[in-house]
Symmetry: C2
Subunit: 547 residues, 2 copies
C-alpha cells in the first residue's frame, strides 16, 4: 500500500488558496498510485490561525472547504486537518479535527485529544479535546488517526507527562494496524533528531508502522521544517521528506527499502536554511517583494543581509550604510565590501548633519546635562527613521538586525535599530551569529562576509572607541547566562552556583528583567531555540522580582 | 460573624512586598473584630504573574510566603490566593490555590476548578484544574471556597457554558453555608453590574450568602476595579468596597443593614477613574516618577494629559508641543491653553528645521517621486524621537496618545506617534474620547480641555488642510464598525447587512486587517472594552483572509 505525505506550505487564513493546493496534491498523489494522502494539522486554515478561529465565518469557510476537497477524493482517500465546530453545547466551541475523505465525501472525522498550552501553543483558547478516540477504516485497514501533540505524551521521553490520556495506546488497543499523525511541528534547534527518536519509539513500543506529515514554511514567528516521515513497526525511519520546502513523499509500506529518505541538514546548516525560509515566507506572505536593512559593517547586519539574499535573491535586497561621526573607516568599507560580495543594491546616507541638527534643537531642553546614552540613541533612531522612510516610499519591508543576546539585555534602541517588520536573528545568540557567518562563507566557497567583520571586536559605534564589551561581559559568557536564565528558567543563585561570576550574573539578569518593555514592542522574532522572545514567552512589565 | 474583604493592590512578582501588605491587612481585620479575612486570587504573586510562574524559585517563594503569613493568623483566620506546585506527577505542574490559615498555620488548601483560556486569560498554560471540591471548616461554619472563574459558569447568564463542572453546586450539595470567592477580575466597561447580577443570582439560586474579594490596581494592560462585595442568601448586595482603590471592608453577616455599600461610579466616570489608575500603577510599578507626552492641540493628547494629571498629579507631567510647518495657529494655542489649565510643565520644540534637514538628505534617494505619506510619517517620527530623547535624558516615561479607532485602522505612525511606554487610550474609541473630554471639564467645573479642541474637526496636521475625515469615515460610523468587527467578531457581510455602506465597510476592514503589524509593536494598551488590542487579541500578521 502506498501512502502520500503531502507536506504543504499553507498561507494562514487563505482557505481558498490552501484548498486549491490541497486538491492539487491529492490529484498528484492519485497519479502516483497512492491510496491515501495525509495532509498536515489544520491544513485548510494554515497553522497557527490564532484568533481567526474566533471568527465564525472563518470556521464555516473551513468546513465548506473540506466538503469541496472531499469531492476530489475519488480513487484516492485523504486525511485533512481542519477546524470543526464542537457539537457539544458545553465547552470551547471548536475542535482541532482531521477529516477522512473518500469516494467523494467526508466519511469520518477524528479529533485531537491532547491540546498543548505551553510555549507558543494556546490550543485550549480555541479547542475542546476530542471525545474518545476511534479507528478509521481505510479500505479494510484499521488506521489510528492522531494530530500532532497526541503522540508527544511518551513518559519514556518527555520530562513530565502533561496529559493523563494517551491516544496512541488507546488506538493500538482498539486494533489500529497503522498510526498516522497530522503535524504542525515548528522548527527548534536540535528538535528533529528528538522527534525521530520519539516517533520511532512510539512505533516500536506498539509494534505499528507510523507515518506523519508535517507542515512546512514560515508563519510569523514560527518556521515549520517539514521532514515528514515514516517508521516501520520496529521504529526504523524508512522514509523522510525534504526539510524546509514543500514535498510530496509517496511511502510504499510494502517495499520499505524503495522509499526516499531525504537528509536533514545538520545543526548550523538547518539554522541557516530555516532563517532564510522564515524571511522569505514572512516577506512574501505579508505581500512584500523587497527588503531593506541598515549595514553597519558589523556581523549581525552582514548575516541578516546574507540570509535575506538566500531567502529572496540578491535583487530583492537593499543595504544602507548610515555613517555618523563615530563610524570608523573600516565600518564603511566592510559594509560596502559585503554589499559587493552579495551583489545587492547599496546606498550611503550619512547622518552626521541630521544628528547635529537634532542635537542642536534639543540642547536648550537638556539644560547643560552631560551627553549620555540619549545622544547615542538619537543616532540609532535617525537611522531607523531613514530606513522607514525608504520602506514607506518604495514599499520595502525593513529587516531589523539585532540578535538574541542584545535583545535579552536591552543592548538595542527601541524605535532605533529595533525598527523593522521582522527580526531574523532575534532568537539567535551572538555566538551562533558568528557560526552562521562562518557557515555562509564556507557554503559560498568564498568570502561573502568580510573576514574583518568576523574578527573585529563588536561595537555599536555610538561613541568614540566604544566596544560592546565596555558594557557587557564577553558574548561567550553572556550567551550562557541568557541560555540558563531564559531557556532553562534557572534562578540567579543557581547560575552563580554553576560557576559564573556573581556580579556579572546579577548585572545580566537585572538588564534582562528591566528590558521587558523593549521586547514588548519588538518586531516578530523567528524562533530557533527552545525559548524565543515573542508569544512563547509572556512576561509582566510593571513588576518587581528577582528570582 | 464578621468577615473582612481585604482588597489589595499587589505588585506582580513582589512576593516580599505583597506578603507585608497581606500581613498588615490581617492584623487590621483582627483589630476590627473579623474572624476571617479574604484576600484576592493569587494575592501573594499579584495577578496575572504570567511566565514568572515558570520560574521554580518564584513558586517556592510563594509557598514560603504563605507559611509566613499563616504565622500571623492567630485570633483571625485568612483565605489567601497563592500558587502551589501540583503534587500529581501528571498534568501541568501548578495549581491556582487558596490557603485557609488559622491558629498560626495553613490548615487547608483549596483549588480553582475552572481555568479560563479566553480573552486575556491563559490559565491552562500554568495550572491543572483542582481535583474535586471540598468544604473548609471555619470554626464550625462550613465554607465553600471558590476562585474567580469558579463562579462564572452560570448557564442562566453566560452565553455558552465553557465547563462541565460547576463548583458552586457541588459545594452547596456538600453542605456549604457560605460561599467565598477570591477574585482577580479586571475592569471592562459595563462589567460591574453584570458581575453583581451574576454573583447575586448564584447566591439566590443556592440560598447561600456569598462574599468576594477582588484585586484592585493596574498590572500592565489590565486594571482591576476592586468593588469587592457581599450578597445575602436572597442575592441582595449587602456590602460593597470602594472601586479603584484599596479597601478593607468588614462585613457583618448578622447585621446586613449595618454594612458599608460604596457606590460604583457610573459609565464614563468609571472609565476616567480606571484609566487614571492604570496610568498611575503602570508608571509607578515600572519605577518611574514622571511622564512626558506630545501635545498637538488635539483631543487625544488633551485627554491623556488630563488623565495623567488625575493619576499622577500635575507636577509629574510634561507636555511638549512640536509644531511643524503644517501646524495651525490654533493647535499651538490649544496645546498651550490646555497645559496652562492643567498647570503642567510645558515645552515647545519646533520640528520645521529638523524636518527640512531630514527631507533634504532623503531627496536624492527618492529619485523625484512625489511627496506622500513618507514625508508625513517623518514628522511623526521626529516627534517620537524628541519625546524619547527627553525620556532618556530625564527618566520620564512617554505616554502615547492614540485612541482605539486610530489603532484599529492604522491611522498612526509606527515609531512616530506610537512611541511610548503605555497607550492609555488604546482601547478607547474616538467617540468615547470625546465623552471623556466633556466629563473632564464637567468634573473640574471649568474648562480644562479647551472648547476649541473639542469642537474642531480632528486632524493629524501632517499636510496642509488635512482632516481625519479625508481618509476615514466619520468616527460615529468608524467606531461602530470597529465594535462590530473587533469586539463582536462580525463578518464583513454581516456588518454590511446591518446597514453600513458596503464600500466603507470593506475599506475599514481592509485597513484593520493590514494594520496587525503595527499593533504587534504597539505600547501596552489599558483594557476598557470587552476586546482590547494586546494579549487578549492574538492575530496572525503574515496571513491572507477576508471574513
Amino acid at each position: 500500500m502506498k501512502i502520500a505525505l503531502a507536506q504543504i506550505n499553507p498561507v494562514v487564513g487563505d482557505v481558498i488558496g490552501n484548498t486549491e493546493k490541497i486538491i492539487g496534491r491529492i490529484e498528484q498523489a492519485r497519479a502516483e498510485g497512492a491510496s491515501l494522502v495525509v495532509l498536515p494539522e489544520l491544513a485548510v486554515a494554515g497553522y497557527p490561525p490564532w484568533d481567526l478561529l474566533l471568527k465564525p465565518r472563518f470556521v464555516q469557510a473551513n468546513v465548506e472547504a473540506v466538503r469541496r476537497i472531499a469531492e476530489h477524493c475519488r480513487g484516492v482517500a485523504a486525511l485533512i486537518g481542519f477546524v470543526e465546530p464542537n457539537i457539544d453545547p458545553v465547552g470551547r466551541s471548536l475542535r482541532n479535527a482531521a477529516a477522512y475523505c473518500a469516494d467523494g465525501r467526508v466519511q469520518a472525522v477524528r479529533y485531537k485529544s491532547l491540546l498543548p498550552t505551553y510555549d507558543v501553543y494556546d490550543e485550549r483558547r480555541y479547542f475542546e479535546p476530542g471525545p474518545e478516540v476511534a479507528i478509521v477504516d481505510h479500505g479494510g485497514l484499521p488506521v489510528g488517526v492522531t494530530i500532532c501533540e497526541d503522540l508527544w505524551n511518551d513518559e519514556q521521553l518527555v520530562s513530565r507527562r502533561l496529559y493523563r490520556a494517551d491516544p496512541i495506546s488507546q488506538l493500538a488497543e482498539a486494533g489500529a494496524k497503522l498510526i498516522v499523525n497530522l503535524s504542525a511541528s515548528p522548527f527548534t534547534h536540535e528538535k528533529h533528531p528528538y522527534r525521530v527518536r520519539l516517533f520511532g519509539n512510539q512505533a516500536r513500543r506498539y509494534g505499528l508502522p507510523l507515518l506523519f506529515t508535517n507542515q512546512v514554511g514560515g508563519n510569523d514567528e514560527l518556521v515549520f521544517d517539514g521532514a515528514s516521515g515514516a517508521f516501520d513497526a520496529r521504529g526504523k525511519l524508512i522514509a523522510q521528506a525534504k526539510a524546509f520546502e514543500e514535498d510530496l513523499l509517496v511511502v510504499d509500506l510494502d517495499a520499505p527499502e524503495a522509499n526516499r529518505v531525504e537528509p536533514y541538514p545538520e545543526s548550523i546548516v538547518a539554522i541557516h536554511d530555516v532563517l532564510a525560509l522564515g524571511i522569505r515566507d514572512y516577506v512574501r506572505k505579508c505581500g512584500f517583494q523587497r527588503v531593506v536593512l541598515g549595514l553597519s559593517g558589523g556581523i549581525d547586519s552582514a548575516v541578516v543581509a546574507a540570509l535575506a539574499v538566500a531567502g529572496l535573491g540578491r535583487e530583492a535586497v537593499t543595504g544602507v550604510s548610515m555613517p555618523s561621526r563615530f563610524s570608523s573607516e573600516h565600518s564603511k568599507t566592510d559594509a560596502e565590501v559585503l554589499a559587493r560580495n552579495l551583489g545587492i543594491d547599496y546606498r550611503v546616507i550619512p547622518i552626521k548633519e541630521m544628528h547635529e541638527s537634532v542635537e542642536g534643537h534639543l540642547r536648550p531642553q537638556f539644560a547643560g546635562r552631560p551627553p549620555d546614552t540619549t545622544e547615542e540613541n538619537l543616532q540609532a533612531r535617525l537611522r531607523g527613521m531613514l530606513l522607514m522612510a525608504l520602506s514607506n516610499k518604495f514599499g520595502w519591508l525593513v529587516l531589523t538586525t539585532g540578535n538574541k543576546s542584545e535583545l535579552a539585555v536591552g543592548y538595542c534602541t527601541l524605535y532605533g535599530d529595533m525598527c523593522g517588520g521582522l527580526a531574523p536573528l532575534g532568537d539567535v545568540p551572538k555566538m551562533m551569529v558568528y557560526a552562521l557567518a562562518r557557515h555562509i562563507n564556507q557554503r559560498a566557497g568564498r568570502e561573502i562576509i568580510p573576514e574583518n567583520t568576523i574578527v573585529k571586536p563588536p561595537s555599536a559605534e555610538l561613541r568614540p572607541d566604544q566596544t560592546d564589551q565596555d558594557s557587557l561581559p564577553p558574548y561567550e559568557v553572556l550567551d550562557q547566562i541568557v541560555e540558563l536564565y531564559i531557556n532553562e528558567e534557572k534562578s540567579q543563585d543557581e547560575i552563580i552556583e554553576a560557576g559564573f561570576d556573581a556580579d556579572v550574573v546579577r548585572k545580566v539578569i537585572r538588564l534582562i528583567d528591566v528590558s521587558e518593555y523593549k521586547r514588548k514592542q519588538a518586531a516578530p522574532v523567528l524562533k530557533v531555540t527552545s525559548r524565543a522572545f515573542g508569544i512563547g514567552r509572556r512576561m509582566p512589565i510593571a513588576a518587581r522580582f528577582r528570582y
